[in-house]
């Protein structure tokens, strides 16, 4: 049996600000992980990734990040994505400060 597909979000850093951005279902780049589109189908994930990568004047380093779908939106499967979604642990800077 093939391995189950781990749901994904499309994420990158914004070209101008450099901060973490996610792709929403309406094609907007959003700053909050809970507004990101969670993709549960592998073929769709690849298409969304390709389309996002083409937006080179908006985003840098676009990739798919593993997420668990929950009622509160996508939850990172790996601690690196948790830090990206939150900000550094030594100062209240980054996403956590944006509210």
């Amino acid at each position: 049996m093939p391995k189950a597909f781990t749901p994904k979000v499309v994420t990158a850093n914004a070209l101008l600000e450099g901060d973490v951005i996610y792709l929403a279902s309406d094609d907007r780049w959003v700053r909050r992980l809970d507004e990101a589109e969670i993709i549960t189908d592998e073929a769709i994930a690849q298409l969304r990734l390709l389309d996002a990568q083409a937006r080179a004047s908006e985003a840098v380093g676009v990739y798919l990040a593993d997420m668990a779908p929950t009622e509160d939106g996508p939850q990172p499967k790996h601690f690196r994505e948790e830090f990206r979604a939150t900000g550094p642990s030594n100062y209240h800077h980054g996403k956590q400060a944006a509210g």
């Binding site: 600000e17 642990s89 030594n90």
Partner: protein, 557 residues
């Protein structure tokens, strides 16, 4: 201190103008990210986890008050009010926006600073002993030769696309405070029969394949130094493994070919490079050296220092740990710790930067140094001024008395900022420092250097920490390997792994057990942690860490 010539000023201005246009072309879409990335890296601009990061060079760690003030301005105007001093004597800003970076570079140029070659496969910022020009044990000030190397390597046409980055460090003393044995080239100023020359080491480095540098030449005369170094880089430039970035550093080239073959190749290349140098470099060296003449030291009584030392235990503790012998009578080298317990190692706020700049101007011949251990130095202070300096430092959270002690930890930015990291470093450093401050045994422990890296690239120098900590990702969880017995000085050695790693919450207890074993086994307070480790080896520490089932757990690792 070195002041920019008209040539330097024009060169930096031109590079900044070019970079401003490159940024504009990237934003307009005329440059792709693949095209832009090497350009921004050449100018010190990275894209990290949460934001861009600008790495600014502080050549050989030396700067004056006006330069430190400008670093404060950058922190306030374009960042979040602080900067992070690094293990290569640079400063990093963690939050700039792309459009602002050209303005930041122009602001740096106003005080003779830049971010050129702080990244990319080039010769990076040349580092030096942070006590240069002040240390009592120095043969000669290493900074003139460091500045000469900087000018030679900046925009050197042959060395802009090297197999990998290339790092040079210079020391002027036998006591190595510049970690020259862990650099691609390490240079030691030496004196033979009254003649100043240079001992050249090659092939040191940390990272995933740590190596201690080997001696390539015991004595290179002044007139041969630049052609000799050029020959070394040139040999590696052709021989270095461009097929595999993990095997591209010169340490691998030296390892694969052997130091004797490298020495022969360098000698034969040197015959060519030497012929191309016409002596202009020697004239330039003399001009540079004249700018590093020592300041006019004053001959004044030190009673004020002695009185404060007797009367104030806090001052006494600070002077005992943070001062080093100066070559001039009545003077001291004072280190300002950027390791307040529980704070981020190497971070300074804009306000703290201004305080240090002001202290340098008022009491320190307008000189500051950044150490590779992420602290700041006032290299020339008269002892009679120290009570007042200490009072001002104390008022700004800068008087932590812990230089060389267990809380004076090197930590890379780790996964709190760095895109390459596999785990966090900063919280581990904060927790260790906080815990040992609570225990109030730092002074009793004495000299003990902990160095933490958040990935195998080893920016935190963990291999050469007395206790080294390496953060890794083990199946999606942060896990920390511990090494013991590393040494960053002239007696350099690489630490040895204790055994299986520890989850984040077990690191502090593990360090406590290691320190406990040291305290139990040392022959007396005068025997340092490293000496005890070298006398006894790993066994007692392993037992303290893992208990009686040491062997089983090690085999399972």
């Amino acid at each position: 201190m070195y002041s920019y010539t008209e040539f330097d000023t024009a060169f930096v201005a031109e590079r900044n103008r070019q970079f401003r246009q490159q940024v504009e072309r990237r934003i307009s879409g005329a440059l792709t990210e693949d095209e832009f990335k090497p350009l921004r890296l050449m100018n010190g601009l990275y894209l990290q986890l949460h934001a861009y990061m600008l790495r600014v060079a502080i050549p050989y760690g030396t700067l004056n008050g006006a330069q430190m003030d400008q670093l404060a301005l950058l922190a306030e105007k374009w960042d979040k009010g602080y900067g992070h001093f690094t293990t290569r004597q640079n400063i990093q800003y963690n939050w700039p926006e792309l459009r602002d970076v050209p303005d930041m570079l122009d602001a740096l140029a106003e005080v003779g600073m830049h971010a050129i070659q702080t990244s990319g496969n080039t010769i990076r910022n040349v580092t030096a002993d942070h006590f240069a020009g002040a240390a009592a044990d120095e043969v000669a000030d290493p900074r003139p030769v460091a500045e000469l190397l900087r000018q030679w390597s900046t925009d050197h046409p042959e060395f802009q696309f090297l197999p990998r980055k290339f790092k040079i460090a210079v020391t002027g003393a036998e006591n190595d405070r510049a970690v020259i044995k862990a650099h691609d080239i390490g240079i030691q100023v030496v004196e033979h029969g009254g003649e100043i020359g240079y001992r050249v080491l090659v092939g040191g480095g940390l990272g995933r394949t740590p190596m201690i540098g080997k001696e390539l030449a015991p004595f290179v005369p002044q007139e041969d130094l630049l052609p000799y170094v050029e020959a070394v880089v040139s040999v590696w430039n052709l021989l270095g493994r461009r097929d595999n970035k993990y095997k591209a550093r010169i340490k691998i080239t030296v390892h694969e070919h052997g130091i004797d073959e490298i020495r022969e190749r360098v000698a034969s290349r040197f015959a060519e490079t030497k012929a191309a140098f016409n002596g202009a470099d020697l004239a330039l060296f003399d001009e540079i050296a004249a700018q590093f003449a020592p300041p006019a030291f004053r001959n004044a009584p030190t009673e004020a220092f002695d009185a404060a030392y007797e009367a104030d235990p806090v001052f006494r503790a600070w002077t005992d740990s943070n001062l080093t012998a100066h070559k001039a009578g009545g003077y001291a080298i004072a280190q300002i710790s950027l390791k307040a317990h529980g704070e981020t190692p190497g971070d300074a706020t804009a306000e703290q930067m201004r305080v240090m700049a002001d202290l340098a101007r008022r009491f320190g011949h307008d000189e500051l140094r950044i150490t590779h251990e992420q602290n700041v130095v006032l290299p020339h202070v008269h002892k009679s001024d120290l009570p007042q300096i200490h009072k001002i430092l104390k008022a700004h959270g800068l008087a932590t008395a812990n230089i060389g002690m267990i809380s004076d930890i090197i930590a890379c930015p780790g996964m709190d900022y760095c895109a390459l990291a596999t785990a966090r470093s900063i919280p581990i450093a904060q927790e260790i420092a906080t815990r040992f401050d609570e225990l109030k045994i730092e002074n009793e422990i004495g000299e003990l250097k902990i160095k933490i890296s958040g990935c195998i690239n080893a920016c935190g120098h963990h291999h050469v920490g007395h206790i080294g900590i390496l953060g890794l990702d083990r199946a999606g969880v942060e896990n920390y390997q511990i090494t013991l017995g590393g040494d960053a000085t002239e007696t350099a050695s690489l630490g040895e792994r204790t055994g299986p790693g520890f989850p984040a919450e077990e690191v502090v207890p593990a360090i406590e057990r290691i320190v406990g074993a040291y305290m139990d086994h040392r022959e007396g307070p005068e025997e340092s942690f490293l000496q005890t480790y070298r006398r006894l080896g790993m066994a007692p520490f392993k037992l303290a860490l893992y208990g009686e089932d040491t062997g089983k757990r090690s085999r399972a690792a």
